[in-house]
């Protein structure tokens, strides 16, 4: 049975590795998504005692788009190293949801290296991943390419916002009493900070030029 169309929304489910090494790209994703007119959502922001997978699937269903970063294909460190299967697992959920409801959801795969996905997930052959080369500029540029919005600023302008977040990230962590960059409160306050900063910079820019 096909579900009725949901309200048009700009929500994006961001499926990324939650580790310290990915922090800069995480910030870049959140900054960039807001800059191209979208509202990012991450699994950690969902409250409730339901099983994590149920909460993630509910979030995917509530989002018009999803971005699945499959760049972390290395084994985790430590004596009991293991590959990271969470991102491909959640991509599978999004693909299934989209196949059943193509009008409700569109998904994107992102990688840091060209052609690697043909080895790591060859069933995805025939699709074009967005390649960010593991850089902040790469993430921002590819977001601009993937989500074409007439009002999207240049990558240089996006970088001004990114730099502002980076400089104030420690303060946002302190306000939340945590060192975890992926904590729900940190994510929400980073989103609001980006929103406020974007508005202020846009208002100021005309007087600078």
């Amino acid at each position: 049975m096909r579900l009725p169309p949901i309200e048009p929304n700009n929500n994006v489910f961001l499926n990324i590795p939650y580790d310290e090494a990915f922090r800069d790209l995480y910030i870049a994703y959140v900054v960039g998504l807001y800059q191209v007119g979208l509202t990012p959502h991450v699994a950690s922001e969902i409250p409730g005692g339901e099983r994590r997978l149920d909460r993630i699937f509910a979030l995917i269903k509530s989002c018009r788009y999803s971005i699945h970063d499959l760049s972390r294909v290395e084994l985790s460190g430590g004596p009991s190293s293991a590959p990271r299967f969470n991102m491909p697992l959640e991509l599978g959920l999004a693909i299934s949801w989209s196949l059943l409801n193509p009008d409700l959801h569109k998904w994107f795969v992102w990688e840091s290296e060209p052609f690697r996905i043909q080895r790591s997930a060859s069933d995805l052959n025939g699709t074009d991943p967005n390649i960010h080369f593991g850089t902040v500029e790469g993430v921002l540029g590819e977001l601009r390419n993937a989500f074409w919005w007439n009002n999207a600023p240049s990558v240089e302008t996006m970088l001004e916002v990114y730099r502002g977040v980076e400089l104030n990230f420690g303060a946002i962590l302190s306000l939340n009493g945590t060192r975890n960059p992926y904590a729900p409160g940190v994510f929400k306050e980073m989103c609001l900070f980006i929103s406020r900063l974007t508005t202020l910079l846009r208002a100021s820019r005309s007087s600078w030029q």
Binding site: Y34, S98, T135, N145, G164
Partner: protein, 89 residues
Amino acid sequence: MMCAFGTVGQPASDQPTMEYHGVMPKSVRLSTPRPSPEEMARRLRIPKRRQRELNVLAEEYVKRLRAEKDAGESVIGRKEKPTNASAAD
């Protein structure tokens, strides 16, 4: 021996037998407006006091950016290094 999908024994670098011809677009065109900071604060349920604290941080950064631009410096001129190294690095 081949399984139902024909992928057993198929090297990943070879032409796959189960290509995905799905709905993933390379890009989509957006037309809806970006939410305002006030709308974001409401959606995110951030208390007024914290909103003010974040606003002060944002205003201070804009002032700093302006001062650097006036001085002819670039706040974004630094070279980005790849940040996608393994967590084990």
